[in-house]
């Protein structure tokens, strides 16, 4: 009994399966009050599944949970919140067309209601308080949520999760959706809550981040509990190894220090103004890995969209091979340009479609230029590339909405590898991807480079840029603020100087 009381939360033998997929297999975890617990694992290892069970979003098949020593069996999210468990989800969790205040108190309006009648003023007042509590003052409760940026919406979700002063706060893969400032805010809030004696379950693929912010750590692999580590036992290589279950070399970036880049320009932007891009001039050479970096809001994601023809330049032009302008996305694809969006679920994938359909989509015309397309060829193409990318699924007929985030990303990459585009624009290709897969993706990028393909790598992670690029272009306020070559010997500090 005494043993149990020491723990705030305890889960025993949690099982959950989706058809033939066993997402969680007798998973055990105990969380103490006043700790930040990291939860790490490969893509599809069951982190989101577990945390959503705790938050009452879905039900487990078997196993027991205890909160404060009492059996805990949430009937739904509201019940979970009432028990003091709240969660920030991996996907977007706000509802458009209603106000910020309404989003914060969504499902909890009864607080401000008498007989179903809502006191909107009071709700706005409380929402302002909730936002203040997380030190956000630029968001007004009356604003429509649609007026906010993606990042600000995540902040609204934080306010929502923290308003009820939860005993357990679950944060599933949220940092990748936040800017540096947002991250700092999140870390600050996490510390604050820990110091108040609350528990935090923190999910991330960034091992540095985990090691830095967490007090202890649980590793999951294929739905199985693998290990618990305390802060003093943290070691990046060891964690990686536990994660993927085999030895992994210390660095997985490329190790050469720069090679001669071809002079041939395959894609360029000339004085382009579009979206958040201001007067951008940029050249991508054949066989080059060009990294694009900067702070969030610097416009780097729009660079990808402009070069791919998704965003039409207001002034200036985007040229392929220095002659033809890029007219539209479909033109770009036809002319050998591929694009992986940062916003995977909304823009890169058809969720309610099979893996095969997704992979084959850009290549349909290549399979048979005219007339009927053979089903066999499609299947071959899909299987070849999903195997190459090690997509974790029973077959290529599996629908993408049942895949974990990382596996979805692999499908997106497989799609473009299958198409065999000569120019690849990769916007945060490893976002939310586990270390093992990350290494595989980096290898692939290198391989593409060796095949003479040109890669534009847009990334928020400086390490990744430094590790992979032949050349890095940094942006500030939509314009180029600095350029570095690989052979100049790059460091984060050098880059950051040009970013701010």
């Amino acid at each position: 009994m005494a043993e149990q009381e020491k723990y705030l939360f305890r889960a025993e033998k949690i099982c959950k399966s989706f058809g033939t997929v066993h997402a969680l297999k007798e998973f055990d975890i105990t969380i103490k009050a006043g700790e930040i617990r990291g939860l790490v694992g490969e893509n599809g290892s069951g982190k989101s599944t577990f945390s959503s069970i705790v938050a009452g979003i879905q039900k487990h098949d078997s196993g027991k949970m205890y909160l404060d020593g009492q059996p805990y069996e949430p009937t739904g999210t509201v019940d979970a919140i009432n028990h003091g468990v709240s969660m920030v989800v991996q996907e977007q969790g706000t509802i458009s067309k209603i106000s910020v205040a309404a989003n914060i108190f969504f499902g909890k309006e009864e607080k401000f209601a008498k007989g179903g009648v809502l006191n909107v003023k009071e709700m706005n007042r409380e929402a302002a308080k909730a936002l203040q509590n997380i030190y956000v003052d630029n968001i007004k409760p009356e604003m429509m949520i649609d007026q906010l940026s993606f990042e600000d919406r995540k902040l609204v979700e934080l306010a929502r999760a923290l308003y009820t002063s939860p005993k357990i706060w679950i944060i599933d893969e949220t940092t990748t959706a936040l800017s540096v400032a947002g991250r700092e805010l999140l870390y600050k809030l996490m510390k604050e809550k820990r110091d108040e004696g609350k528990a935090i379950l923190f999910i991330s693929h960034d091992i540095e981040e985990i090691m830095d912010k967490c007090d202890s750590l649980t590793v999951l692999r294929d739905g199985l509990f693998i290990a618990n580590l305390q802060k003093e036992e943290f070691n990046a290589d060891k964690i990686r190894q536990l994660l993927i279950g085999r030895e992994l070399s210390g660095h997985y970036y490329r190790d050469d220090t720069g090679v001669e880049i071809s002079k041939q320009v395959v894609l360029e932007a000339k004085n382009v103004i579009a979206g958040s891009v201001q007067n951008l001039t940029l050249q991508l050479h054949k066989g080059e890995i060009l990294g694009i970096g900067g702070l969030s809001d610097c416009g780097m994601h729009d660079v990808g969209k402009v070069l791919f023809g998704l965003l039409k330049p207001e002034t200036g032009e985007v040229l392929k091979d220095q002659k033809e302008p890029v007219k539209s996305a479909s033109w770009a694809v036809r002319h050998g340009i591929g694009y992986v969006s940062k916003n995977r679920d909304q823009e890169s994938l058809m969720l309610i479609s099979s893996i095969a359909d997704n992979i084959c989509l850009p290549s349909l015309k290549d399979l048979t230029p005219f007339g009927p397309i053979s089903d066999r060829k499609q299947k071959q193409l899909a299987e070849k590339w999903s195997e190459r990318m090690e997509v974790k699924a029973d077959s290529v007929k599996v629908f993408c909405n049942t895949l974990s985030g990382g596996n979805k990303q692999k499908v997106v990459l497989a799609k473009w590898l299958g198409k065999g585009s000569d120019i690849m624009i990769l916007d945060c290709p490893t976002r939310g991807i586990d270390v093992g897969t990350k290494a595989a993706i980096y290898q692939l990028i290198m391989q593409m480079k060796e095949e003479g393909k040109s890669i534009l790598l847009i990334s928020e992670e400086l390490q990744e840029l430094i590790g992979m690029s032949d050349r890095i272009v940094l942006l500030r306020d939509g314009a180029v603020s600095g350029e570095f070559l690989r052979n100049e010997g790059l460091t984060e500090a050098k880059l950051i100087q040009k970013m701010i």
């Binding site: 979003i57 509201v78 969790g93 509802i95 458009s96 209603i98 209601a113 809502l118 909107v120 207001e314």
Partner: protein, 322 residues
């Protein structure tokens, strides 16, 4: 406050402009008060019907049954008026509207099939129920002494009360927040612990109150309610539906409650205008369709027009800079 007034003015411009156009075309017919008054009175029933439609629309469900439910409610109200007078008519219409609404809502909940399919099937069934209830003559008539709600000021008072009720429910209840959320992102709403199915079910039921009111007014204004078959009842809801769609366009600058009324009012000006101009009534549909299309195109592309302006500005800036 100033902004609010400007917005109201903007919205009122819509009917005013349309009215002025007709005034110019035929001054002598359009320049009397009776004309405007008639347009106003005619706007009431479709506006209240549109309020009922708005519930489903906001929730993201599609409802083909509105017309057939209106008929059933009117027929039962009419039948009970003969038996129990006013009480029979009012209670009969409202309660039957709610009961049929509950049936629709609950089936939508249980069967978990797209609402368009469900309501299309149900409309076919409800139509027959309505016509069976209407009996031998295919329509139900009420005694003129029960028809007092059909003329002003009663109809205006009922309209104002309905509008206030609608405004209140749509802006000040927990339910309305849930409804909008379900319409905007059902998956997230569900994960936030909202019983989305229940919300949708409720939207059918609450909307039914307005169907009941519309049925009573129809009964009172036309003196009778006739049954419809072969999906004929769907045509009853098309014009109110158009006003809801227009009102959603106007929503950015004006509340739905007023927006629906203004939109319906504008449509009615067109209706009477065409008759007054002496154009064959077939033109009504042409003008209506055209009007709907143009408004929708303007609305959907308003962002683009601004974008274009910005682009031009940007280009000019770049030109002058270089």
């Amino acid at each position: 406050m100033k902004r609010f007034l400007i917005n109201i003015l903007k919205v009122i411009m819509l009917p005013v402009i349309v009215y002025l156009i007709f005034l110019v075309i035929c001054f002598e017919r359009f320049s009397n008060w009776n004309c405007i008054y008639t347009i106003f009175i005619q706007t009431i029933i479709p506006t209240i019907t549109a309020y009922a439609i708005a519930y489903g629309n906001i929730c993201g469900v599609f409802d083909f049954t509105i017309g057939s439910r209106l008929v059933i409610s009117g027929v039962i109200g009419g039948l009970l008026a003969a038996q129990y007078g006013f009480a029979g008519m009012i209670l009969g219409a409202i309660i039957s509207a709610i009961v049929v609404g509950i049936i629709t809502g609950v089936l939508n909940w249980w069967l978990k099939i797209p609402s368009l399919v469900l309501t299309m099937g149900l409309a076919m069934v409800f139509e027959i129920i309505g016509s069976k209830l209407a009996g031998h003559y295919g329509f139900v008539q009420i005694d003129n002494k029960y028809a007092i709600f059909g003329s002003s000021p009663n109809i205006v008072i009922i309209f104002l009360l309905s509008a206030v009720l609608f405004y209140f429910v749509f802006n000040h209840t927990v339910f309305s927040f849930h409804m909008r959320a379900v319409g905007s992102n059902e998956a997230v709403a569900k994960n936030s612990g909202i019983k989305t199915d229940l919300v949708k079910c409720k939207s059918f039921v609450y909307g039914s109150v307005f169907i009941g009111i519309a049925a009573i007014l129809t009964l009172s204004q036309s003196g009778s309610v006739g049954a419809q078959t072969s999906l004929g009842s769907v045509t009853i809801m098309f014009k109110p539906l158009i006003s809801v769609l227009l009102a959603l366009v106007l929503q950015r600058i004006c509340d739905l409650t007023i927006g629906i009324f203004i939109a319906q009012f504008t449509l009615n000006i067109i209706f009477i205008g065409l008759i007054a101009v002496g154009l064959p009534d077939t033109f009504q549909n042409v003008v209506l369709g055209f009007f709907l299309l143009v408004v929708m195109i303007l609305f959907e592309n308003s962002g683009r027009i601004e974008e274009l302006k910005e682009k031009r500005a940007a280009r000019q800036k770049a030109m002058s800079a270089s």
